[in-house]
Amino acid sequence: MSTAEFEKSIEGLEVELSDSRAGLPIEMDARDISVWFGKRKVLEGVSIPFPKKTVTALIGPSGCGKSTFIRTLNRLHELIPGAALAGEVLYEGKDIYSPDVDPTHIRLKIGMVFQKPNPFPSMTIRGNVLSGLKLSGMKRPNHDDIVEETLRAAGLWNEVKDRLNAAAGELSGGQQQRLVIARALAVQPHVLLMDEPCSALDPASTLKIEETIRELSKEITIIIVTHNMQQAVRVSDYTAFFLAAENEPGYVVEQGPTTDIFGNPRDQRTLDYVNGRFG
């Protein structure tokens, strides 16, 4: 990125951070996040605050670093060999990367749903929903209620209520995705990261998930990556637009209330992107 371009992106930020988020209680605050894979820098200076109980959509063309960014928010990024990072992510008043923070605790509180459904194939449907409790050693009573509640929230209950003990591998791709959403909810995360959770779903399940997201955002903070502009508009309160020039690190071009980003973007590139003119 040229200096001019870089300053331009910064200039945008200066105004936006005085947007309506400034006064809200912040659940998580990513500050100046830069990311490297080996020597290659793939993200530069990303700063996004995530207000409590809101939905933030991350949009941008393929390969600009949205998945990479979201994985820095619950310390999954560090599992990749060669990964490096600068900046901080504030959560519960502390940098999640400070040495006295237990990454297990972070990943329990900050749940994640991945692009590809990844249910545990050898477990039953019920076993999958409850697997987080087992793996994290978390104690919650009334497992039957948890199973029903989370499967309902994920819009899967009616399809599986008669075969909760069937193997999860038997479900269709879309059903599997809803199953892993239920699984993520069962451990009661405070933040839910969703990386294109609907890319494998039909329109009906997608709508169901979107309803779920809206419903959940009354309780928890959600960060969702999506390539579906309508979806971003429908579910999110805030939007951040990522962009990367060829072989350059990605950065946030513009961010702010979703209505502004889609209705009245400041940057020409944002306007083009949200109107489907490139990317």
Partner: protein
């Protein structure tokens, strides 16, 4: 209202951000607890080792290991909370296990070098055993003929066992023909064949019938019987790990089954297949019994693999170890060292081939 100011200083600081690995930072508390958890059990165990008459292995197993586990558990509980305790146990057991096997391996190699190096010299590596009697001094004679023999025999067995083994694995995982259960059963059964039985089989079928004399070729066939199940089973495991999506992906591009296997599945499994080959080689290279039965031995250098008894390192070692002369035993150690080094070289070559580049 908080307004973040992006002045030129801020911009500079962003541009000069250095890649870091914050997850590698440790709290002082963590560092201290780990240090104490390592030092205290070691000191206590050291006391029992040197100041008491309790045998060393008992000290290690009954005193040191439990103490170390306890210390690691306490250290983890102090520095990371109860979540860390199970991790710490696994850590200690994993490290302990690795150290244990390393110690055994290293003491083996050290013994081998200490005893073997006495024999190894240029002449030892380049000469054969002709004109040498068991009592000849170490300056004369060598194992070059046996090295050549071992390489020939292993090479012949690889020519047979690798194609057949990989083809078997492909039949089981890719062709998935009707005979799969029987094939798998046979391979399984074959892997239980003792090496002496493989030798006996070749002896009865090929040598006693007069079809051929003792030779590298007969030895290679006996080795192949032993190598085949290892190659086939390991290759099968590896191919099984290749995700089904890869196969359907290739088929959906109009690929034939054969091309799917050759151009997509096998390349994806390349490192694993090389491992299968390496394991197969390692399985046979030191086998002595079949060679005693079917290759005979020789003191001269033999180049013809088909119709002459031939020396190999295992039979050379076998022949010398039994001699009542110290120099002969030393020669055996030297040959054992050479054998290990050959195996190591073969491993390295296989690894280099296996690494390859993405096309």
């Amino acid at each position: 209202m908080t307004t973040m100011l992006f002045d030129s200083e801020k911009i500079q600081s962003l541009r000069t951000q250095e890649p870091q690995h914050p997850w590698r930072r440790r709290t002082p508390k963590f560092t201290w607890s780990v240090a104490l958890a390592v030092v205290i059990p070691a000191l206590i165990a050291g006391y029992f080792l040197f100041a008491t008459a309790i045998p060393d292995p008992i000290v290690i197993i009954i005193i040191y290991l439990p103490l170390q586990l306890l210390a690691a558990g306490v250290a983890a509980a102090v520095s990371k909370g109860k979540n860390g305790v199970a991790d710490a146990f696994i850590y200690v057991l994993a490290i302990g296990g690795s150290i244990f096997s390393l110690v055994i391996l290293i003491s083996l190699i050290v013994t081998l070098f200490i005893n073997g190096l006495k024999a190894v010299s240029v002449s030892f590596l380049t000469q054969n055993n002709f004109y040498i009697s068991p009592s000849t001094s170490l300056e004369y004679g060598g194992v070059a003929h046996a090295v050549l023999g071992t390489l020939l025999i292993v090479f012949i067995s690889m020519l047979v066992a690798i194609p057949v083994g990989i083809a078997t694995a492909i039949y089981v995982t890719e062709v998935r023909g009707r005979a799969v259960p029987y094939v798998r059963f046979f391979v399984q059964a074959m892997s239980g064949v003792p090496s002496v039985v493989a030798g006996l089989f070749i002896l009865t079928v090929l040598i006693l019938t007069g079809a051929m004399g003792p030779s590298a070729f007969a030895g290679g066939l006996a080795y192949a019987i032993l190598m085949l199940p290892t190659v086939a089973r390991t290759a099968e495991e590896v191919l099984r790990l290749i995700p089904e999506d890869l196969r359907t992906g290739a088929l959906a591009l109009g690929s034939t089954r054969a091309r799917t296997v050759l151009q997509v599945v096998l390349p994806a499994a390349k490192t694993g297949i090389v491992t299968a080959i390496v394991l197969g080689m390692a399985r046979v290279v030191g086998e002595t019994a079949p060679l005693v039965l079917v290759t005979g031995t020789s003191d001269a250098t033999v180049y013809n693999p088909f119709n002459s008894p031939i020396a190999a390192l295992p039979t050379y070692i076998f022949g010398n170890v039994a001699q009542p002369f110290p120099d002969a035993v030393t020669r055996a150690w030297g040959a054992a060292l050479v054998l290990i080094i050959i195996v190591a070289i073969l491993f390295v070559i296989a690894r280099i081939i296996g690494r390859g580049k993405v096309k």
